[in-house]
């Protein structure tokens, strides 16, 4: 730790000492009468319903807590902003809270069933009892589903970040049960599941790539985001298609009343968002863009190849919302991102994401609301080899269409039902290689990819059986069909599938059925209240996955292939079990949980040794299927209220894979269980957040985890002068353990009359040279085998300064 770090700490401590905290609650308001005294029936209960919406936009506020008389009567708003309070007639003090918004205080005299809509506006929450959560503060105890992590972008904006980029995926990795292969790698792993087993939904439509810059930067602009919820334990039946988890990300609607602007400038990106009414109170528009300016980082490096390299990315978002009536609202959104990365003259990547999404919601009455969604997405990746006689570019494109209709039905305050149907079609284009920039030496080739359609029908009810017992029972039936046009090869039985063992070739026409899979996916969880602030939850769910990431590297790369199920690639099936104990303390000031989980997985995709995965007309000859299992325990302690908030999470887990074959020649590690590449038994995270005046904050993150598994060199030999290493069994060893401390300091209201902030962040404060991976470097003499080195890609403190503004 050098002078620099000490100076940082001094600034933080100095600022801290001179911080004032203000906390005022406003109860000096008149009483409001709800209902008519003529309808008052003594000794009965009265239902108060309504919607909680954003002031100015009419957009629903999801997850706001509505609490009467300090949680004696309580509900939280659903995805349409609706809530229900069931209470005896009387006088109540009601508080409506949501993070990043001003709390609303109401004093109600409740006489008879009534409707009460509440408008909330963005603003600073009171610091005296600030609730740092985007969901009801005791929902972890009250709701039936275990293993849910919900965060709001407001909650993570002040956390320390790499190069000043707020990153929801990195923030989730601070939660128990969520990990990744290593810092800077794209994707994440949930409870021992694979990266491709996580469904990422942006406004209910799947997104295939979630990162920029090879995984270092999130693909999501913080200014357009609202909530994001990770279902890692039990996924409601209305969501499916992946075997491990669902991350649901929702964006904001544009303001319906007036134009507003916000943005920011950071070390590697700048962003700007404009939102406002096209027709006041009817139609709103939100436009956002983010563009990188990261080349200066590459230019600072002395290496000539890096100097000749370039890195560029952008993402753009447009959201149009139109209110047909008070009960009918439509949203159309367009998201696009592109990455271009060129490493000197040696290789380059390009990848694009595009997503068009339409959503129509009708609030037919206070009990039911149908939602129709239509989406089209496209993910394109290109590998460029710009040099030499074989200069070429290889392109893969995945097109997909999704259509869904669901109905939320709340017959009373005891039941919350969602039912519907959904379908998604995957139509990848032919995989193509061609000469790069007019190079005619290389032969152009194209290989057809498989098409498939996935349909599902689902119903889920969350209901209370008794005062202390509630259930969430869901059933999903999914059905997948591999369709033509396609050419399918059949192979001799009882011998390994190879090009030489092809027995017959079958041709299928457009949309002709080739192979079908399907089955039930039960989703069941129960909450048993032990006390008003304690509950036990158990859950079981089954999930099926019909699309797979073909990626034969430890960490995914931008050019990995998405491959739908076919005759030789059955759906991945996961059974998830979990049990947890949830306990809130001191009037929900503290939230704690302990969960155990077990997951078994079938039909995991594995690979034969040295597979050829690109431009392969017989991809099935390179693939194997295996089994997986993961188990572990998670501890979570979070402080929700007060000047200091934050959490501690600890996870112990094991994630293992087994690949056996009938003839033994295609087994991995002799058919024994071996550790998955991202298996880190111990993971610990500490997050501290101290709110300061004027939107200021001080935040600290401490992370520790076991090093990931490694296949290491054990000996070597020489053939033709080339030293060839002999590796150990798969994932037999481990890289060193990982430890990192980050710090950030946010100053609010930098410029008067502007709602702005300056975020100073230091990633890896102590400059610990954590092992990103073990890197084998050949000694000066080519006749010695490579020696292991510890490679630390972020091995020094990385400070950053980001300015955010809003007007």
């Amino acid at each position: 730790m050098g002078d620099f770090t000490l100076r940082v700490l001094a600034v933080v401590i100095f600022s801290f000492l001179f911080t004032e905290v203000a906390a005022q609650q406003e109860w000096e308001i008149p009483w409001t009468v709800m209902g008519d005294s003529a309808d008052l029936v003594p000794n009965t209960r009265v239902t108060i319903t309504g919607r909680i919406k954003m002031k100015g936009s009419d957009g629903p506020v999801t997850g706001a807590s509505v609490s009467a008389e300090t949680f004696k009567h309580f509900d939280y708003s659903d995805q349409n902003g609706r809530y229900v309070l069931d209470m005896p007639p009387g006088r109540y003090r009601v508080i409506v809270r949501h993070v990043g918004m001003k709390p609303v205080y109401l004093k109600l005299i409740v006489l008879s069933p009534s409707v009460l809509d509440v408008e909330m506006e963005e603003g600073v929450t009171d610091l005296g009892e600030v609730v740092i959560t985007s969901r009801p503060i005791d929902s972890n105890v009250r709701q039936a589903l275990p293993g849910i992590t919900t965060l709001n972008v407001q909650e993570i904006k002040t956390l320390p970040t790499l190069m000043g980029e707020v990153d929801i995926l990195k923030s989730l990795q601070l939660m128990p049960g969520v990990s990744s292969v290593g810092e800077g790698s794209s994707g994440y792993n949930v409870r021992g599941g694979r990266m491709d087993q996580n469904l990422v939904l942006l406004n209910s439509a799947p997104l295939f790539s979630t990162t920029h810059a090879l995984g270092f930067v999130s693909a999501f602009n913080q200014d357009i985001l609202n909530n994001f919820t990770l279902y890692k334990g039990n996924v409601p039946a209305n969501m499916g298609g992946r075997a491990s988890s669902v991350l649901e990300i929702s964006t904001r609607r544009g303001n319906f009343e007036k134009w507003k602007y916000q943005g920011g400038v950071g070390p590697i990106t700048s962003r700007f968002t404009a939102e406002g009414p096209i027709k006041k109170d009817k139609t709103s528009l939100l436009l956002a863009g983010r563009v990188s300016h990261a080349d200066w980082v590459l230019n600072m490096v002395h290496d000539p190849d890096v100097k000749r390299s370039s890195l560029f990315f952008y993402d753009g978002y447009a959201g149009l919302s139109h209110r047909f009536s008070k009960s009918s609202l439509a949203d159309v959104s367009f998201y696009s991102s592109q990455d271009k990365f060129q490493y000197s003259q040696q290789f380059g990547y390009r990848w694009n994401n595009m997503l068009v999404n339409g959503k129509w919601q009708a609030l037919a009455d206070r009990k039911a609301s149908p939602t129709l969604t239509v989406s089209y997405g496209k993910f394109k990746s290109t590998l460029i080899d710009p040099y030499g006689v074989d200069a070429s570019e290889l392109t893969n494109v995945m097109n997909y269409f999704q259509l869904g209709e669901s109905v939320n039905y709340n017959p009373n305050d005891k039941h919350s039902i969602v039912a519907g149907i959904s379908g998604i079609g995957y139509f990848p284009e032919m995989e193509k290689i061609r000469g790069y920039k007019g190079n005619t030496a290389i032969s152009s080739q194209a290989v057809a990819k498989n098409h498939g359609i996935e349909l599902a029908v689902f119903a889920n009810d969350e209901f209370d059986i008794a005062e202390n017992l509630s259930l969430s029972v869901g059933l999903r039936y999914s059905h997948y069909t591999h369709i033509g046009a396609d050419t399918v090869y059949t192979y001799h039985a009882d011998v390994p599938r190879t090009e030489e063992s092809i027995e017959d070739t079958l041709y299928y026409s457009d949309f002709q059925k080739i192979k079908s899979f399907g089955g039930l996916e039960p989703r069941i969880s129960a909450r048993i209240s032990v006390a008003s602030n304690q509950s036990i939850k158990v859950s079981y769910n089954r999930m099926r996955q019909y699309i797979h990431l073909i990626s034969n590297t430890t960490a995914p790369t931008p050019i990995d292939l998405w491959q739908v199920s076919n005759e030789y690639l059955p759906p991945q099936i996961a059974d998830n079990y979990s049990v947890g104990y949830f306990w809130n303390l001191k009037d929900n000031k503290w939230e704690t949980s302990a969960e155990l989980f077990y997951k078994s997985m079938d039909n995991l995709v594995e690979y034969k040794d040295f597979p050829t995965l690109f431009l392969n007309r017989h991809l099935e000859t390179e693939l194997l299927t295996g089994q997986g299992r993961a188990y572990g325990g998670e501890l979570y302690i979070r402080k929700l209220k007060g000047k200091w908030t934050g959490w501690i999470s600890y996870t112990y887990s094991q994630s293992q894979v087994r690949v056996q074959s009938r003839n033994g020649s295609e087994s991995i590690n002799n058919g024994n269980w071996y550790e998955s590449s991202y298996n880190k038994p111990h993971m610990f995270n500490l997050v501290l957040d101290r709110k300061l005046t004027n939107n200021g904050a001080f935040s600290l993150i401490v992370s520790y985890n076991t090093g990931r598994p490694l296949t290491a060199i054990e000996s070597s030999y020489i053939v033709g002068g080339t030293v060839v290493p002999v590796y150990s069994e798969r994932n037999k060893y481990r890289i060193p353990n990982y430890f990192r401390v980050d710090l950030s300091f946010t100053i609010g209201n930098v410029i008067r009359k502007l709602d702005d902030s300056l975020v100073f962040s230091v990633y890896n404060l102590f400059g610990r040279d954590n092992a990103y991976s073990v890197f084998y470097q050949r000694p000066a003499s080519n006749y010695l085998i490579p020696k292991p080195y510890k490679l630390s890609v972020l091995g020094s403190p990385l400070p950053s300064l980001t300015y955010n503004f809003k007007f």
Binding site: G388, T553, V774
Partner: protein, 362 residues
């Protein structure tokens, strides 16, 4: 650049890690001991060699796998015989000056003939290869070179500028052959004249001749199916740092080899493994199965490959005068006031891959 059957590039992926290293790291590469690793003496047989259409290429090298950080061991005292399918048997006697090297002179392989090797070790173990059928001719090769100053990053992350000799091949494929598996290797041969110290008998120490792969970790492969033209130029075959070895005549011999499908696949796998650096973008390493088995114990692990290679070559040499700058390296000439000489000047045979055998064409 590496040319592979479908030209996808483990190369690019492995270089991702190197990029991360140079961008973010700047001096954070440090040696480590991997916990729990068992450093053991390998001891598994390694066979590497061929029968070629060029007589001087008929070399079979035998060795034993080495433990971590140890040079692989040569295996001496074996009997190596190559047999064909028309009843011939060719014995590869061991080169007395190069332990582990078994050489066959004056015989060339013939296209379409099937060959396999039999090895009997001094312990009496018998190993045999699968059969390799000599493939069709590889076309023609013409080499050229350029001398460039090139910045490069060493293992410690230090950037230096040094001169390199880059060897390129201009390739012409035979028009009659549809599919060819091609591999290029560039060997270097140079002479090392030790210091001739004054002595009363005026004895001149013999010179040593060093023969080795010029860029051993570069494996250039190409399958002609991927190309639409019958000729292409400027294929990079070797990149060689300019050092003291260029103080005297320095030969580069580029072999263009036509291989069987099996041999090509073997080298593709070797290429992947030798380019792996252990990063998260590496292809998971695995054991490479060659084509040698212990006749009496098929379960014994044997590494390497015996191949039949139809080859052509092109050769050129460089003299110090060919360089546009003076070669300021320590030579071995005697100087009256000097007492410090590099070890190679005192005993040139100690240099790896050296011998007193002067190639006939040198």
């Amino acid at each position: 650049m590496i040319l592979s059957r479908y030209k996808i590039s483990g190369f690019a992926l492995s270089h991702l890690a190197q990029l991360l290293f140079v961008v973010f790291c700047m001096g954070c590469l440090s040696p480590i001991e991997i916990e729990g690793i068992t450093t053991y003496l390998g001891g598994q047989l390694v066979v590497s060699g061929e029968i070629s259409t060029i007589a001087e290429q008929n070399i079979i090298q035998l060795g034993l796998t080495a433990s971590t950080e140890r040079v692989p061991f040569p295996l001496s005292g074996a009997m190596v015989t190559v047999m064909d399918n028309i009843g011939n048997a060719y014995s590869y006697p061991e080169d007395p000056l190069r332990p582990g090297f078994y050489v066959l002179d004056n015989v060339t392989g013939v296209m379409g003939v099937a060959y396999h090797v039999q090895i009997v070790t001094s312990e009496g173990k018998v190993y045999e290869s699968t059969t390799e059928v000599m493939p069709p001719p590889p076309g023609a090769v013409k080499t050229n070179y350029e001398i460039v100053n090139q910045e490069h990053t060493d293992g410690e992350g230090t950037v230096t500028t040094s001169p390199f000799v880059k060897v390129y091949a201009d390739v012409t494929l035979p028009e009659s052959t549809k599919s060819l598996n091609l591999k290029w290797t560039s060997n270097e041969d140079f002479v090392l004249t030790p210091t001739d110290f004054p002595d009363p008998f005026a004895q001149v120490p013999p010179s040593c001749y060093i023969a080795q792969n010029a860029d051993p970790q570069r494996i250039t492969l190409l399958n002609s199916d991927n190309f639409s033209t019958a000729s292409f130029d400027h294929v990079l075959i070797a990149s060689r740092l300019v050092d003291w070895t260029f103080l005297e005549r320095h030969y580069f011999t580029t072999y263009q080899s036509s291989l069987t499908d099996e041999a090509y696949e073997y080298w593709r796998k070797v290429n992947i493994l030798s380019n792996n650096v252990g990063s998260i973008f590496d292809t998971p390493p695995a054991e490479i199965h060659g084509n040698i088995v212990n006749v009496n114990d098929p379960t014994e692990k044997v590494h390497g490959y015996f191949q039949a290679a139809n080859e052509v070559y092109d050769r050129f040499f460089l003299l110090p005068a060919d360089f546009p700058f003076p070669l300021l390296f320590d030579g071995c000439s005697f100087e009256s006031f000097s007492t410090q000489y590099p070890p190679r000047c005192l005993e040139c045979i100690s240099v790896r891959n050296s011998s007193y055998n002067r190639p006939g064409w040198f």
